[in-house]
Each structure stands twice: as C-alpha cells, then as structure tokens.
Symmetry: D5
Subunit: 147 residues, 10 copies
C-alpha cells in the first residue's frame, strides 16, 4: 500500500473516531508532533507502534505494514507552498533566514542546526490580543568537520 | 545608499569593533533576533534607532538614513537555499510541513500563524550529547475571515 | 471524497438546477464571493452551511462531509496563470505592484494587507462606453512586529 | 537615462522634499495611484506632466526626458514575489482566483477584466478592530470576440 | 464531460466523417480559425452552435453540453512549446518581439493589441519557390488608461 | 561594441533626430519591420546598410561595425514576457496555438511555417469602434523530410 | 488510440518478433533512423506505410490508423534529459554549441541548419581502441530572409 | 583574465585580421571545429598552442596564459537556447532523441556515445535544391559497467 | 510491464521473503550496489540474471522479461531531491563540487570521471563516536579528446 | 573583500608560484580536499591557517581576513551543473541515488549520511585499462530522532 493511501485512511479514521493527534500519540508514547509527522507519511513507525496505531484506528493489516516503511520524504509539499499556512514558514525563511544564519554562527561557530536529530512542538499560547501559535524547533548543533 | 551596501558596512563595522548582535540590540532596546534582521536589511529602523546604531557602528549619515527605509524583503535568500544552514529550515518545511498544518488547524481551526505579527529567538541549549539550537517562532493566530 | 470531486459535483448541480452563486450564498447567509470560494474548494464550510448547501444542490452525504474539510489551498491555479481572466490579475501585480507597495507604506507604515482577515467582492458597473468589472479587496492592515 | 535610475532619483527627491504621492499627483492632475505607477517606471508621462514633475522634484533634464519613454513593464517584481506586501496579492490570486473567474463569467459572460483600460485606488478604511486596506480595481469588461 | 474528452471526440469524428474545419465552420456560420479554436476546447460555443456541431459530428448530448462551457484557457500548450510548429511562433516572439513592441507604440502610442477583441486567419499563399503560410492577426488597439 | 549598446545609441539618436522607423527603413530600402528588428539587435545589416544607417543616425564607426555582426538572437525578451504588449502574443500562442497547428496541417500537411524564411508587417487599420493592430506573418511552409 | 500506446505496442511487437529497426525500415523503404522516429511517435506514416508496418508487427487497425496522425512532437524527452544517452547530446550543445554557431555562420552566412528538411543516421564505426558511435546530421541551410 | 574577455579579444582580432577558423586551426595543427571550441572558451590549449595562437592573433601575454586554463564549460548557452541556430539542435534532441537512444542500444547494447572522447565537424554540402549543413558527431561507445 | 511496477514487486517480494540486497546480489554474482541499482529500475539485467532473480523473488514471467529492458534512467529522483538522504549528496556537489573539479584536473589533467565505466560501494564503518557511512565512487578517467 | 575575489587571487597565486593543493594543505596541516574546499570559498579558515596561507601565497591582509569568514555556501555551482566534470556527479545521483538510499537504510536504518560531519578524498588509481578516479565520501550516520 502506498504511503499516500495510508495517510488518507488515517485521516479518515481519525475523523470518524473523533480522535485528536494527542490521543494517537498517547497510544504509542510519542509526542503529537512526531506522531502526526509519521502518520502523514513522513517517518516510519516501529512494528509495535504500527500495531497500536492500527488497532486504535482500525486499519487493515497492509496499512499497518505500510506505516513501518521508511518513506521518500518531502514529496507532499509543493515549493513554494501554495497553501498559506505553509507559505508563512517559507516566508519566514526568506525574511528571517539571514538573521538565523548570523545568530547560529555567532552562538555556535561554523555549522548547522540538524534537521535529523531534531524535534519540534506546536503550542497554543493564550494572549488577550489574540492567541498565538508557538513553534519550538530544537536541533543538535553540528559543527563542520575539518580534516 | 542601497540596503546591500549598508549591510556590508554594518557587518564590517561589527567585526572591526568586536561587537555582538546583543551589544547592538542592547543599544536600541530590541532583541538580538530583530536587530540582526533589521541590520541585515530585512526591516526598517526608526530614525532614533538608526541614529543610535549609526553612532555605535560609526556609520556615515547616508547609511543611517538608509537603515530607516522600508525594504523589499526576501531578496537575499535564493530558493531553494544553497547554504546548508538555511536549507535545513527549508527541509523542515518539506518534512514537517504537513504536521505543522494539521496541528495548527487542530488547535486553532482554519487560519494561519502570522509571519508579520511574529517574533522569534535563537538560543543555545546545553546538552551533554552536544549542544542544541533552539529556535522559537511565535506568531499571532489569524483566523480566516468568512463574509 | 476529494475536494476536486466535490467541486465538480457542485458545478454540475449548479448548472443543472439553474442556480446562481448568489442563490447558494443566500441559502447560507454568506456573500457570493465567499460562497464561490468555499464551493470551489478553497475554504471550509461549517457543518450547518454544508448541510444547507447539500440540500440545495442535492449532494450525497460524503460530499457534504468533504465541504467541511480545511483544504490545501491554492492548488488549482497554475502560476503564471494560463487563463487570460486570471492572468490579468497576475499582470496587475507585475505592473501596479510597486505602486501598491508604496501607497500601503505611505498610508499605514511598515506592514501588509492581510490576505486572511480579508474579503472581496465582484460587481458589474454600468458604463455607456462598456460595462466595467469592479473588484474590491479589503484586508486588515497588519503592522510588522518589532520585539 | 535608464528608468531604474529615474525611479531612484524620484524616490530620493520625494523623501528629501517631504512630499507625498498625492502632492505629486496634485501637481499633474492625476490620481496618486497612477502617479506612483508612472514615477516608479511603469507608465510614461506626457511631456507636460514630466516637466511639472521635474520642476516639483528638481530633476535634471535627462530624467524628465526619460519619464516620457514608454517602458518595458513588469520588470521590477520577481515572481513569485519575495516581498510579503506583494506576495499577499499573489496569494489572493491562488486562493480567490477560481471564484474571481466564476463570478466574472456569471455576471458578464465569456471575457475578461481589462488590465489596460484599468484603474485602481488604495484607501485606508478606519475600523475599531484595526484599520483596513481597501484596494479597488476597476477594469473594462472585454468580451471575447467570435468571428 | 471534460473539455479534453470532447476535443478527442471531435477530432475522431471529424476524421471519421472526412470533414474539414471549414465544413464545420460553415455549419455554424463562423470562420474556420474560430471554429477550430472552440472545438479544440479554447472557447465556448453558444447552445445553438453546439447543437449544430453535435448534429454534424454525431456527438452525444453531454459532449454538446460541454462545448458550451467557458474553459480554463491555455492548458494544452506547454511552454516553451516542444512541438516545432508551435515553437516557431514562440521564436518569432523572441526574435521579432522587440520590433513588434516598437512599431505598435510608434503607430498607436502607449497600449497593446488586444488578444480578446482579436481575430486571426491562416491562409495558404501560392509561391513558385514554395507555398507560404500567412497568418493574419488582428486585434483592437487598447490605449493604457490614465486616471 | 556590444549589440545592447548599439541599440541604446540607435534609440537615442532616433529620438533626438525625430526619425521614424520607416525613415530609417527608407534609407536602406528595407521594410520598417525588418529595419526595426535589425537595429534592435536581432539581425545583421550588410556593410552598405550599416554605413547608411550610421550616416543617418550619426553613429560612431564602431557602432556601424557592430551593426554588421550576426547576433545571438532572442536574448532581450524574458519568457514569459512581463511586458503586456509582448505577453499578448504569448497568450495568443497559449489560446490559439492548437488551432494554428491544426489549420497549418490541414492546409499543408506535416511541416511548419518557417521563422527564418519569414517576414511580417504591422499596420494600423482604422475602425469606427476603435482602430486595430494588424500583424501579418508570412513564412515559407517547410514540409518534414522523410528519408 | 494515443501515440504513447501505439509506441508501447510497437516496442512490444518488435521485441516479440525479434525484429530490428532496419527490418521494419526495409518493409516501407525508409531509413532505420526515420522509421524509428516515426514508430516512436515523432512523425506520421503515410497510410500505405502504416498498413505495411501494421502487417509486419501484427498491430490492430486502430493502431495502424494512429500511426498516420501528425503528432505533437517532442513530448517524450524531459529537458534537461535525465537519461545519460540523451544527456550527452544536450551536453554537446552546451559545450560545442558556440563553435557550431560560429562555423555555420562562417561557411554559410546568417541562417540556420533546418531541423525540418533534415535527416540523420547512426552508424557503428569499428575502432581498435573501442568502437565509435557516428551520428551524421544533415539539414538544409536556410538563410534569414531580409525584406 | 576571464575566459569571456579572451573570447572577446579573439573574435575581435580574427575579424580585424580577416582570418578564418581554419587559418587559426592550421597554425596549431588542429581541426577548425576543435580550434573554434577552444578559442570560444570551451577547451584549454596547450602552452605551445596558446603561444602560436597568441602570435597569430596578436594577443597580450595574459590572454595567452588564460587560453591554457581548463574552463568551467557550458556557461555561455542558455537552455533552452534562445538563438535559432542553437535551438534547432535542441529541437533535434526533442524530436529525434528517442530514435537516437533506440538505435545506439540496438547497435551497441547498454551504454552511451561519449561526449568527452568525442569529435565533430561541420561541412557545407552542395545541393542544387539548396546547400546543406552536415554535422558529423563521432564519440566512443562507452558500455555501462556491471560490477 | 513498466519498470516502476517491477520495482514495486521486487521491493514487496524482498520484504516478504526477508532478503537483503547482498542475498540477491549473491544469487547473480554481482555487488549489492549494482544489484540494487538494477532492481530499482536503473540498469538492465542479462536474461540469465533476470531468471535467477525471478526464481529467488518468485516474480511472474513478464516481470522477469521487464528486468532485461534497457531503461530510461534517472526518472525517479526529483531534482533537487526532496528526500534528505538524497539531498545530502546534492549538497555535497554544491559545497565540495569546486574542489572535486580542481583536484581531478590537478591529478589527471583536462577530463572527467566517467559515470558509465563507474562503480560504487556503500559500507558501514564502525566509529566510537558514531558509525559512519562510507561511499566509494570509482570511475575511469576520460581525457578530453583534441582533434 | 568578497569570497569570489579571494578565490581569484588564490588561484592566480597558486599558478604563479607553481604550487599544488597538497603543498598548501601541508602548510596548514590539512588534507588537500579540505584545503581546496576552503580556498575555493566554501569553508572558513582559522586565523592561524589564514595567516599561513597568506604568507605562502603572498596574499594581501584583507584577503587573509576574508579567508576566515564563514561563507554562504553553494553559490558557485549552477544546478544542474553545465560543466561535465560536475554534471557526472549529478548524474550519479540521478542513476544511483535510489540504490544509495536503499543501502544506507538497510545497513543503518532510518537516517542519513551527514554532509557536515563529512570528509572526502580524491585519489588517482592506476589501472592498465586507463587510470581511475576514486572519490571516497565519509559521513557520520545520523539516525532520525523520534520524540
């Protein structure tokens, strides 16, 4: 079964069963951000995780199997993103990218923030002038190797 | 004076004077992330801020003036970014974008995180397995208008 | 059901039943511009709105359900648009874009017109030399945050 | 003199003299939107208009001459626009484009809104929840010729 | 029925019945160029025209209906065109475009040749050194509006 | 001397001397369309033609020499064209291209209209409803070789 | 029947029947290069040629019919080619293109090698250091028309 | 000295001295095609060859030196080529590419024609119906390695 | 059978049977890297190899047949790659490409590393600070031909 | 001083002084591959390394200073590369990329080869059938984080 088809079944089941991402995350002991990432086809689940998700979402066996496959990542977001939610992150890179590069180098030296040894979270922060979205990205600093 | 030329002079003066972004930020009472963004040509300073930065960095008067101009933003980062520091943020959008969209909608409904009423910070988090880069993005949630 | 399929059914039903956008808009108490936007797959309806539209257009239940899903926006217009109706708006941005930017900054300062807290209308204005299309766009001004 | 150089001189003089677009527009009896468009290099002035603008902005004779040249339009906005002010109009086309096409055809039949026999205005609309940008676009409807 | 499918049926029927474009054009009182344009999915027919074409080409009712729909134009020619017949017109624009612009402005002033209030014809011109293709394009001059 | 620089000098001299393309064309016994094409850097002049144009436009000797060089054609029009005059011809290809291909094949068989053994003209056609631009393109039909 | 489907059937039949391109070419009295070009969907066969090929390859009648249709050429090679065999020809154009242009102009004057009145062949040339591929391209020189 | 500047000087000297490519080729004992390729900046000359060319074309010492540098190849032809001479070779790849691939595989098996161990020539072939350009490409067949 | 379908069946069978690439490679006496390349549709197997693979993986006869077809290579990796594993190799080319070119020329002269007479391997190298991926690429040096 | 200018001076001095990359590498105790990478502007040198290189290559002080700046990487190789040496690595990714991904996952699990904690070497391997280029890439395996 193709990853795209599993994703479709996951979304449909989640909606039908009235579950939230944190419910599914709780069932496998993972964060909601990682769980959503994996079930949207961008990371593989372990066989045990896949079984638990399959039970919770009442997925067929071949979908459970497909959840454990390491995916070709990054195939679902067109670039530049046409969807405004995603485009704003692209715009943040256009506008704030130079400052991100400068600050990382000033604080760490020559290297990068890993996007592999990486985690993130999305939180709703209450604010009287309108609630705010807080996205925390956290990646290991990798210094450039000299040899 | 062109924004690109001011940026060049700012970088040169900052290096010559041995200043850090937070030193410059302190002089105008702003965060280091916003200060770096503005001095890299991606936001205008108020005339007072520009004067203070000009004094600190010993910039000529036309550079001070140029710092107050509202810029055409986003012109310095090629897309996709060729620089690995910036590319990793692009990759995060490719891989974690679908989860970002899902979680924002689940927590807030139909709308976006603003990239205008927005702030961010970059912090070094110590970790025995290797220090980590933490980027916090914080933007107002804007619900889609229906009319 | 995919958004594209719902859109196809909506268009077909609208034509078969001889309805206009304002007829459908009237049934849910919305403007014709927003109603067309939503039924063309670019905005979600509330469950109540979806039920009313479903009754009016005699849509099956899964189509009604699909109308309430928050879409991936912006996927149906290729850029640059090949269709002349849409291309003219693209051309307006090419030719009048610099003036739009200048005037918004002169009247409001540094910031943007929101495309989220936004509404628009299309009206036919009679003119002896040939009737005219009037498009009114109205979005909240969002000032850039400094922090 | 190149259009880009004239534009640079116009912007510099406007700032130095503390003029607004409507001041310049008043001097030639045109709207501020058209005046900004022309002085940003996207439309030619008549010789009389160019003389008046030249006097007001204290431009050299070759700049005045250059203002009357019919330009290659559309060369200053990269597509997709990297600047957020301009990008929002691009996004409006992505999201609201299908509705614009539908409504124009429903109200007028097969044809387009002209971007040549076209005018627009930008206005600040006060609003207790935050002032709003109103852009009115008005173009002649051109029906497709059948022959 | 999709426009692409109607086009396929039209081409097939035209071939099967041994008709030429001018035969079909004659049946609806239009030029062969416009008739070919419409039947290739780039313009809508009136209901009467569609009925006549449907009878002549023995099309099913839903194809007749589809012929009256206003299309999304311009979706069938990839750009740059890979087909040599179409590429030559693209090349003409590359090579002769600057002269076209200069001559239109010299003869008419600032404005364009309309591609909407437009007609064209294709004719075979006999020539002893090899017959020639003559394409006549004729569009209303639209002067740029100043306001 | 670069072609672009010659073009700049030609345009400047033409304007200064109050000449029209047909005046220059007359001096060398060519059509105004070909003359404009060549002087805009898209075709080489013979040495005699270059001398005559040089005298008429009071060009320096190295510009006269440069006019005789066979150019790299097609380098001045960006694709898709951002200028509306040129874009309309691009749009004609998008919308009317399929009909052009069909009609050429129906009248001539498998082959193309040459863009090399090619000529064109631009004419102003008076019309009470607004004068019209008539562009006549005329190219030798080249049948595909079978071997 | 679509050209792509005919091509698929031709390739399959050729393999099944153990034929070579020159066998098929011999049956219709054409060169192997043209025959391969036509049967890969890039040129139309005459009805007689199509019948002969149909008999030889045991194709169904609608495939035979489809072989006579003038194709939209150039749709099967993505550019730049991802396949190394085809990419090498693309690279030859990148590296040797300037010399090709210079030599054609030196030997013929201003004009081009036709790709329509054109033939080519592919030959295996034995060589003790490794056999060589020889591709001969032969096209009529077309001088640019001046008018 | 940059390759582009050397090329400019070579072209200028060749024209001033009335030399042809085969004259320069003769001076270094190479073919005219390779000589043109190298002097247009697409291949390095040996020091001896560079000295001979420098003497013949009266080039300064730093130009002679620059002729021996191994270049970044392929930087002067934009893709797709806008120049019609070069475009025709691009089109040949679009139209005849599938046949080239098939014939090379049929005659040689799995592998490619080298574009490195490669030579070519351009020749004028007289023909009563119009002289023809003959381009012969000859590259070593390289079989794909299996390991 | 399409290559993509064969690949799908191979992956599925390999997983079902619990085989590793080196198991399959062993069955045909090839390296695991070449075997994976071929079974992922990027190289043809000999009929004998295909039979052995077919037996081992229990593939149907038409899949075995399809494995022997010379493929259109390079069609499965979008460029730039969206998948992070593949992107890193793309990034290596961006960052280390200039050094690769310099070192190859310094050690070998003007020419390239063949990607046809080429082999590679992937190995896991143990390292107390974290195991490392070692990719060895080995291609014949091909000197540029001068003629 | 811009990185590009330093690179130019380094290349010129290296050639003038008859040095090889390993000579420069030896002076700073680094590998030739890293040294070439850094001096071609793709990595920063430490101040001590920069001083040593400056002495060896007789560079001015501002060039020495510029060598220590962390660069925007990846700006000198256009993609796809037009130079054949670099293109071959791009092609390797097209053809062998799927196998690289499969083998890395089979040997290591879900994760990537780092391009930051990475080193490489280029070596000449003698071979009677023609010497071979051996490129060894060695990067730390980074497992994807789950959280």
């Amino acid at each position: 079964m193709e990853k795209a088809e599993v994703t479709r079944q996951v979304i449909e089941a989640k909606q039908r069963l009235g579950l939230k991402w944190k419910d599914i995350a709780g069932a496998i002991g993972r964060s909601e951000a990682w769980t959503a990432t994996a079930l949207l086809g961008q990371a593989p689940l372990s066989p045990e995780e896949a079984q638990k998700v399959g039970s919770l979402l009442e997925l067929p066996e071949d979908a459970v199997q497909a959840l454990t496959v390491i995916p070709y990542r990054g195939t679902t977001v067109p670039m530049p993103p046409t969807d405004p939610v995603l485009y704003r992150f692209y715009e943040i890179l256009l506008v704030y990218g130079p400052a991100l590069k400068e600050l990382i180098h000033e604080k760490f030296g020559d290297g990068i923030m890993s996007a592999i040894d990486f985690e993130m979270s999305v939180r709703r922060v209450e604010d009287p002038k309108g609630d705010r979205v807080q996205v925390v990205m956290n990646g290991k600093f990798l210094p450039y190797r000299k040899w």
